[in-house]
Symmetry: C2
Subunit: 235 residues, 2 copies
DNA sequence: GGTGAAGTGGACGTGATCCTCCACTTGTTC
DNA sequence: GAACAAGTGGAGGATCACGTCCACTTCACC
């Protein structure tokens, strides 16, 4: 390999190679931390995971929003692609259902993305561009599904972010104790969108799981469990 | 000294009258603060509103859960009563729909209660007793609505807390920018519960409102002075 | 009024998180 | 390999919330 005297840019960022490596470490660490703990995870924690000092992190990403945008850029593109894919489905209704499920599933696998999908970041251009693209495609998907007579006529595209907010609420409460609950919510929602009823629901969470989902409040992680209320005997 | 010649007990709590007054001030302040800011509001803030010192607050309610239980005792009873009322409705399906809407509306008017309804507080006896009563009545309501052929057969009572979690998610995101959005979600959910389709949806939020709902993130992180809801850039 | 128990307030130690700042290290270039 | 710009880390000031502690105040009863 010949060190050419001009344009030493391995990745396009004008950074020194060691700095670029650190930047990548940071983004990777952020992705992991956000996925596990949500986008409110302490910046120090991200720095620690990345093996860099906080100073380095802050120089590269001055605000949390910057870091969030960088960490989820790829997922955001995948999100936009999902709408494009759904649009390619020959059956508009199937495409619609598939899309809603797929996006909600993306929320379910990443605590941070759950939140990101229900927020805008006006300063993150590319990020919001992907969101706009996804939305535009979704609008088209909605129109087609309506034209096919399968989607109720009074559905509006803004219902989708509302669904994502609802799903976020269920995920926030059940992710630990009954992690599949969201599937049932989504089935209900899709059901409600249909012009013609059908569809069976996924298995509901057990009463015990639901109890655990509702049993929050700090009190140091993983504690005792004395007498559980009626209906939820210890097995 | 336990034996006292007189029994000067104005309210049944064995407190000195001034102390009892302070206790009531605390509970009232907590109710207001929780309703506005959610149950995570700083304890100091509650004490400040009540016009007492934090020490006083902590002596009376050693943990946040204790204070929450005291603050929402009344609402919890109202919540349980709603189920009883619904059960009295001659039309089981109407009772069911009415109940779901009513409870979700209770969430919508109180940020704290929104959360409380999706949590258990095993140590707060009376509190959980009300919840159990509500649930038992709801189970009966469900059975009747199914028997009437109006509620889908695969609905399970645990779907109700799931709905509350979903509603909490929508409320958390939209309470400021599009405070009626939850009504539309609830209409969708009820729609999905029906064995026979019908019902029209409430007006959806406007695209602009939905944008504002998604526009969160601290950024202009100043202190939040009363009367200044986070301003959105795009006028 | 006097007395003691009950009650009070808020200063304070602790710990978490934010973000800045700058003395030091390292890569790059000549 | 020398010199300098680029990059680094983490100490530390600022802020915020928690929950305790105790010198002081107030009530209730005599």
């Amino acid at each position: 390999m010949t060190p050419q005297p001009t344009a030493p840019e391995p990745t396009g960022t004008g950074l020194r190679v060691d700095a670029e490596l650190n930047r990548q470490r940071i983004v990777t660490a952020a992705r992991e931390a956000f996925a596990e703990s949500g986008i409110d995870v302490p910046m120090d924690e991200v720095a620690r995971r990345a093996g860099v000092g906080v100073g380095t992190l802050y120089r590269r990403y001055p605000s949390r929003a910057d870091l969030v945008a960088a960490a989820f850029e790829g997922k955001m593109t995948a999100y936009a692609d999902a709408a494009r894919t759904a649009l390619a489905d020959p059956d508009p209704w199937h495409g619609f259902c598939d899309y809603v499920e797929r996006v909600c599933a993306m929320q379910a696998t990443d605590r941070g993305f759950t939140t990101v999908l229900t927020m805008t970041f006006p300063t993150a251009k590319r990020f919001e561009a992907d969101r706009d693209r996804a939305f535009a495609d979704f609008v088209e998907l909605v129109d087609r599904a309506k034209a096919a007579g399968r989607l109720r006529a009074d559905f509006v595209p803004e219902d989708m972010p509302m669904f994502l907010m609802a799903n976020a609420g269920v995920l926030a409460a059940t992710a630990d104790a009954a992690p599949d609950t969201w599937r049932r919510l989504v089935a209900y929602l899709i059901q409600a969108c249909a012009a013609v009823p059908a569809r069976t629901l996924p298995e509901p969470p057990s009463p015990r799981e639901m109890y655990r989902a509702m049993l929050r409040f700090p009190q140091s992680a993983g504690q005792h469990s004395p007498g559980t209320p009626a209906g939820s005997p210890q097995a």
